[in-house]
């Protein structure tokens, strides 16, 4: 009765008040939504792990930021006068740019040579530079200092590197973004036409991610709207059938994004998917309501009674479907990755908002309309014929259907075993993107584009100044350089070798063998003028050292294996008296990626348990619950298998598929079971046939629209988002097929008893 009163109020005397209230709230949310920012970085992709954060903080406190940009300069006469002058001019220009803390290149580098007072730093490239300078002295200097090859100059000595330390500004978060724009602008200048310039690094990655998110918002949102409107026009062939659902969808989007902005969040790689996903998820309830309005209008006169019946018949299934979808999404809230958590929680909130708006805007909107007589659609059209054959197969050959289901599941499980857990931020981007091309170029021609930092100290806290310490660290470094994935390494040991050579006026780089000689090298380090350089390698008390490693552009899966091998080498070379802690952005990403699987598995299991619990409570029938579980697990297993067979990696985005899809897939089951129970009075076989033909049609419509809506994400700038969108769409269609074939077959075989009262429908 209260529902009737509420609907009556919405559709008659309270109509204008309700419209005014909805408009006012929507405008307030719209104001906030328009100001939603875009994250200037990838912080939200890093797990909330206090230990990890502390280690990274300790690293940056001791050795400074690992946030480096690397620009490569390929020049046909790199070590000749003209090549070096270009490199020098470029390095100086970059050094003068706002946002640059420090620059290092062949022309901005010292070597240590014997001098009047012993080891003396002197420029690696002698000054003054001249166009006619010959390359031999520089080549000899590079031969004397092999530590710079594969780090600041390539082995073929045609490509040089400029490392750019980016300044962090708390007052100007866009400083590094502008720096990237300036650098890329410089790279395109005619003055550098003779050389080939490329730029990579964490700051460039952050810059491009922010730009791509902005680009995706501009592209995906209107595209989603267009696809949904087209699909609605195709399905309903009425203006109101397009306008009303689109109105609800737009309002849901505004409310959810407004909420997102008001709670202080910014869009990131993952939450940039929220707008299209919200739009898609919000539209299904509108479609159910509109379709039911059309169907019931054949039997009931237009007016409050018709709208009340529409709302009454769908409130239960739609709320249940909405809640299960929200549970699936909200289960992502247990993720360690803030971006995933935000996506799950706000998408769940969006679903609940969409329920609220669907059951207010739709009744109000429908109250303005008079249904047009529509030709009765039975089993004669293409969809009807397809549904009839589905019903026939599931009723006549239920065991065959279940046998095939088992085969698909087995194939899926076999594929699942091949799924690789891998996050590769560079390969997240399209191969056409500037950052991808630049990173791969630098990786191929100069040095590894990833950096891994190792923080080393003695467990007893003593300084690392003993001969044994230095020998062990040198052995560690040599062992690491034998790994194929590691291109270069640098530590204070390289500095000790240079100092010792200069002190001994020797020609070869060797470590001191006498303790006094070694201590003297440390004394020289302590007294060195370039304390900034020293501080990046070892702490002032010599108690903690940094071993910086360049790694090829590998994903986190391979990086995990490298980390394990590093651990093995460290155990063998350092022994138990030393503590080696990996640190740095790339290490964090690897850790995050590798525990993502467990986190997402937890999230999925939670979603599954909650969804089954809700369905069990509503259905109150073990047989119905069992019948509903099989067709919902099948699409998840199939999609996971498909990922394995197609070689699609499990990454931040793709691990969300299961939790998102289970919530959506179960919606069709709920609508099917609700109708089945309502039809059970005609007997199970007739109920299944009538449900498949009746509800099946709406399910085909909504699932197709949902899949199309998700597939819009294929135009995203990020590959995992593309995979997420495509695979979620595929999962939805698999869930539809499962609900129309496997669910009826299960219901036919299990023969659940009719309930005394229809609790869902």
């Amino acid at each position: 009765l209260s529902l009737e009163r509420f609907v009556g109020f919405l559709t008659s005397r309270g109509r204008l008040i309700s419209i005014g209230a909805l408009l006012l709230v929507t405008l307030l949310f719209a104001r906030a939504a328009l100001e939603v920012g875009v994250e200037r970085g990838t912080e939200s992709m890093q797990a909330d792990d206090p230990v990890q954060r502390e280690t990274y903080a300790a690293f940056t406190k001791r050795f400074g930021s690992d946030d480096l940009l690397l620009m490569s300069v390929t020049h046909p006469r790199l070590l000749h006068g003209d090549g070096l002058m270009l490199l020098d001019a470029l390095s100086r220009r970059i050094e003068s740019l706002p946002g640059v803390a420090r620059v290092r290149s062949l022309t901005h580098l010292d070597e240590i040579v014997p001098g009047a007072g012993g080891a003396t730093p002197t420029p690696l490239v002698p000054r003054p530079l001249s166009r006619t300078s010959l390359p031999e002295p520089i080549e000899a200097a590079l031969d004397r200092n092999p530590q710079w090859t594969d780090l600041l100059v390539s082995e073929d000595r045609r490509t040089a590197g400029i490392t750019i330390e980016v300044e962090t500004s708390s007052t100007d978060p866009d400083l590094s973004l502008r720096l990237i724009d300036t650098l890329r602008g410089m790279m395109r200048e005619p003055a550098y036409a003779e050389s080939e310039l490329h730029l990579t690094g964490i700051a460039a990655q952050k810059h491009d991610v922010a730009r791509f998110i902005e680009r995706d918002q501009i592209l995906l949102l209107p595209l989603s709207g267009l696809v949904l409107a087209t699909a609605l026009a195709f399905v309903f062939r009425r203006k109101s059938g397009v306008l009303l659902p689109m109105l609800v969808t737009a309002a849901t989007l505004v409310w959810t994004l407004g909420l997102y902005a008001l709670t202080g969040h910014e869009l990131n790689i993952i939450t940039s998917l929220l707008p299209p996903v919200i739009m898609v998820l919000a539209i299904t309830t509108s479609m159910h309501l509109y379709q039911r309005w059309i169907v019931l209008a054949r039997h009931i006169e237009p007016g409050p009674e018709l709208i009340h019946r529409v709302v009454w018949s769908l409130l239960g299934p739609c709320c249940l479907a909405g809640i299960t979808t929200a549970i699936g999404l909200a289960s992502l809230g247990v993720s360690d990755i803030p971006a995933v958590r935000q996506f799950g929680l706000f998408a769940a909130a969006g679903i609940l908002v969409s329920l609220l708006l669907n059951f207010t805007i739709m009744p109000i909107g429908l109250s303005f309309l008079r249904p047009r007589p529509k030709r009765h659609v039975g089993s004669g059209d293409r969809t009807g014929r397809l549904l009839s054959s589905f019903a026939a197969i599931s009723l006549r050959r239920p065991l065959l259907v279940l046998g095939l289901t088992a085969m698909v599941a087995i194939t899926g499980v076999a594929g699942m075993r091949q799924v690789r857990n891998n996050t590769d931020l560079v390969r997240f981007l399209s191969t056409d993107s500037e950052l991808y091309r630049d990173t791969i170029y630098i990786d191929d021609h100069l040095t590894g584009s990833n950096s891994l930092e190792l923080m080393l100290e003695r467990r007893d806290g003593a300084p690392l100044t003993a001969l044994e310490d230095v020998r062990r660290i040198a052995a560690l470094q040599e062992g690491l350089l034998e790994l194929d994935e590691i291109t270069a390494g640098l530590s204070f040991v390289d500095l000790i070798r240079q100092l010792h050579r200069a002190e001994q006026e020797a020609s070869e780089l060797r470590l001191p063998i006498d303790s006094d000689d070694l201590l003297y090298c440390f004394d020289l380090i302590e007294a060195a003028d370039a304390q900034d350089d020293v501080a990046r390698l070892i702490t002032p008390e010599f108690t903690a050292a940094r071993v910086s490693i360049r790694l090829h552009a590998i994903g986190t899966s391979q990086a995990q294996r490298v980390l394990e091998r590093i651990d093995g080498i460290a155990r063998a070379t350092l022994g138990p008296d030393y503590l080696l802690q990996p640190a740095g952005s790339f290490y964090q990403l690897t850790l995050d990626s590798n525990r993502l699987v467990y986190s997402q598995l937890r999230s999925f299991m939670l979603a599954l348990a909650l969804v089954l619990l809700v369905m069990g409570l509503v259905f109150r029938s073990t047989k119905l619950l069992l019948a509903a579980t099989i067709p919902n697990l099948l699409p998840i297993v199939s999609t996971a298998g498909l990922m394995g067979w197609l070689g699609i990696d499990l990454s931040t985005a793709t691990t969300m598929i299961a939790s998102v899809a289970i919530g959506i897939a179960v919606d069709d089951t709920i609508h099917y079971v609700a109708r089945f129970r309502a039809e059970q009075r005609h007997g199970n076989i007739r109920a299944i046939r009538r449900t498949t033909l009746g509800t099946g049609r709406v399910l085909v419509m909504t699932s197709t629209v949902l899949a199309l809506g998700f597939w819009v994400g294929a135009f995203s700038s990020f590959r995992p988002t593309v995979y997420f969108s495509l695979l979620t769409g595929v999962t939805i269609l698999l869930a539809l097929a499962s609900d129309l074939l496997v669910l009826p077959a299960c219901l036919h075989l299990l023969r659940p008893r009719p309930s005394g009262e229809n609790s869902v429908a």
């Binding site: 009047a116 007072g117 012993g118 080891a119 003396t120 003297y520 004394d523 020289l524 007294a527």
Partner: protein
């Protein structure tokens, strides 16, 4: 504790190259009616510190400049003194002590000039260094002009005196 020169009156003093990481201390001293620029090198990298002095001498006293010969004799004596100290240091008893000391005094009293190189015994008292004793290694008697000019250059470089102040302090 016995002060080596009880009558010394320190007029200016400064750690070099910086107070945070001192490798030596330069003092402008009034002694017996004359002026002394005293440089106490007390450093783990004495070779480097002496090397810096040799470099500066080379820049300040090029071949064509009067005083060049005095400078050469001074730097040669300085390097020899450093080598002697380093050799003695290698045989030291206290292996934990890594600092080596070398005292250089440019003395100008009654228009008589000398340069003294000595191995001092240094006591560290908080942030202060005190010379307890000294073993003279070399006594040079260069020209008065060379010594005066060098004292002014050291005062300007290490004590931050401008040319006029240096001239007044070292007449």
């Amino acid at each position: 504790v016995t002060l080596v020169c009880a009558q010394d009156a320190v007029q200016h003093r400064a750690f070099v190259p910086s107070t945070e990481k001192p490798q030596g201390e330069v003092c402008l001293i009034a002694r017996d009616g004359g002026t002394v620029v005293q440089t106490l090198l007390y450093s783990k990298v004495l070779k480097r510190a002496v090397g810096k002095i040799v470099e500066k001498e080379g820049r300040n006293w090029p071949e064509a400049k009067p005083g060049h010969e005095d400078s050469i004799r001074y730097t040669e004596a300085l390097v020899a003194a450093r080598e002697e100290i380093v050799a003695a240091f290698a045989d030291r008893q206290d292996r934990s002590e890594r600092r080596q000391a070398l005292l250089i005094e440019f003395v100008l009293i009654d228009e008589e000039a000398s340069v003294v190189l000595a191995e001092p015994q240094v006591a560290v008292d908080g942030a202060d260094w005190r010379i307890l004793d000294r073993r003279e290694l070399t006594l040079l008697e260069p020209s008065v002009d060379y010594v005066r000019q060098n004292m002014r250059l050291i005062a300007a470089d290490a004590l931050g005196l401008d040319p006029e102040q240096a001239e007044r302090a070292i007449p």
